[in-house]
Amino acid sequence: MSGLDRWWLWRTQSTVVLSPVLVVLGCLVSLSNADYADPYWLDLSSKSTVSVLFLAPGFAALAAWDGARWRRLAPAAVRSWIALLALCLSAVALATLLTFAITLLVLDVQVRPAGGAPRLDVLALGVLVVSAYAAVGFVLGRYLPRLIAAPLAFGLVWGWVAFTPAVQPFWMRNVTGNLGTSCCALDVELVPLALVAPGLLAVALLASAAVVLAWSWRRAAWVVAALLVAGSLAAAASMMRPVGADPVQRRTGSQVCVTAGSRSFCAWPEHDGRLRRAAPSLGRTAQRLAATGLDVPPRLRESTRAPGGWSFSLGGGNPDQWGKTLAVSPLDELPPPCTDRTGGVWPAGENLELAGAWLLTAGGADEAFAAEAQGASLRRLRELRALPVGDQVHWYARAYAAMQTCEPVS
């Protein structure tokens, strides 16, 4: 057998021949959408799988084309359908893994996480779901004309993976395996079943494809396949129903703390270096805010609300901004949830910009800068700052309390 013949099987598969194109595009898609990644392995690993949105429908369509092609050759084939599916899926899994690995490598070089290791479970889920959707495409190709099967596989998988994040209920988006766009900032982690639910559905799809291909002449095979998919979908839905829009929860674990002035500032270990650089600026800002008369607690945590809404963020690369995030942190969670009920009507919100600018100046920022940064009127800010300090704090306390509700301003 010549070298050319040995590779004939691979060279004639669309999933193999076109996989370099999908790998390159997949890497470009993931990298172009990872403009900011935390030095946090879970974030990097999930961002490496953003291309699932693109790889899953692409490979499903190619697998459908290959499946349809094998159907035409079936009378002369010596391989079983399961062997052909395995051949197709091995190419898909390899190409997907390569895409994720290249993306992760580039992100690793860009971001340089401090410690830990890549989340292989997140990457494995991505490979599993892309393979499962490709298996669905292959089955469609096995039974439908290829002119129908390939676009149908593309459309169905694209709709399932890309359209579900735009619709309710939330559990639908959390069982598709598309984690890249919903996970994970530094202060959150995946809920325990976030990988199990889509993984279960993907395994069921793979098993159903295998059952249908192996015993296609038996009606029971189709019933078993349908039950497998329906059962796993129901189980995955019940796992994800209590979860919100994203399958994440507040991160637990110990933070590193640094003392500056009379206060301690704590952050996640990945931001240890930034915390040490930011501590003097954070300490100064906290001291100025407290000197104004604001009740700044003695211990502040990154992205975790202390009483009064105080917190700080070390995201982004500009150390000058880190102290300012502490000053305006009480306003971060506004507008309040009641605006969902009032259709966005939030009368006290008229003071949001001015309150933000006032907090910045109380933290030591220049008035003109503060007004511009918060989009507030410089004239109104100067009028407010001209009042006695006690009156300023009183105004802020009243405005802040009013901004927590959707009631008309009294």
């Binding site: 004639t12 595009l25 470009l28 898609v29 993931s30 172009s32 959408n33 403009d35 953003v50 291309s51 949105l53 693109f54 692409g58 369509a61 084309w65 092609r69 035409r72 004309p145 290829r146 002119l147 129908i148 390939a150 676009p151 593309f154 459309g155 694209w158 709709g159 890309a162 359209f163 994040p165 735009a166 619709v167 766009t181």
Partner: protein, 198 residues
């Protein structure tokens, strides 16, 4: 005539086109977040763009049922042979979307169906049968990935599938593609046979 209807699966394909037209009307305005290479962010793309693949593929598949050899050797004009299939599918799709979504939906869905059908026919000429799938699907992916530029509210002119139904440039582009596809119709059967199947 009955034989032509049966061979090109016109009744079933017309029904499918009508049903997907209705779906297109129902989903008018619905968007799906898709990563964009040119924006470097996830950007919303209209779901109806993908649904419009159905009439495009239906026409090519229906035609393949007639047989590429038979069409190539037929005494009757290729335009006359394919016209009923083409018009039925486009009309059924447009009718379905108009019934549910009104004239706005008709403009958008009809434009998408015309443009993608034109691409499918031109793809068939260039790449054989696989081009009927690869070219319109590849175009959709390219439009999703590169169709929007940063700082631009409207997509690039070539990404007409992302434009509103009222865009004249987008409508003109789609009609031009359909006309191009219709013009090359007689050459498609021979091109498909020459390309062979893989």
């Amino acid at each position: 005539m009955t034989g032509l209807l049966r061979a090109t699966r016109m009744p079933i394909l017309g029904s499918v086109a009508l049903a997907t037209g209705v779906l297109s009307g129902l989903l008018r305005g619905a968007t799906a977040p898709v990563p964009s290479l040119s924006l470097g962010a996830v950007s919303p793309v209209p779901v109806v763009a993908v649904i419009a693949l159905v009439p495009a593929i239906a026409v090519t598949w229906g035609w393949s049922g007639l047989g590429w050899e038979a069409t190539a050797a037929a005494a009757r004009s290729t335009w006359l042979l394919v016209a009923p299939l083409l018009v039925t599918n486009l009309a059924a799709f447009a009718l379905g979307s108009w019934l549910v979504g009104g004239s706005g939906s008709l403009l958008e869905s009809g434009r998408n169906a015309c443009g993608l059908l034109g691409l499918a026919l031109l793809g068939c000429l260039a790449l054989g049968e696989r081009g009927a799938v690869a070219v319109p699907t590849g175009y959709l992916l390219a439009a999703f990935l590169l169709g929007r530029g940063s700082g631009r509210s409207e997509p690039w002119w070539w990404a007409w599938v992302l434009s509103d139904g009222g865009s004249v440039v987008a409508g003109g582009s789609a009609i031009a593609l359909l006309l191009g596809g219709v013009l090359v119709l007689p050459r498609i059967p021979v091109a498909v046979l020459r390309r062979g199947e893989r």
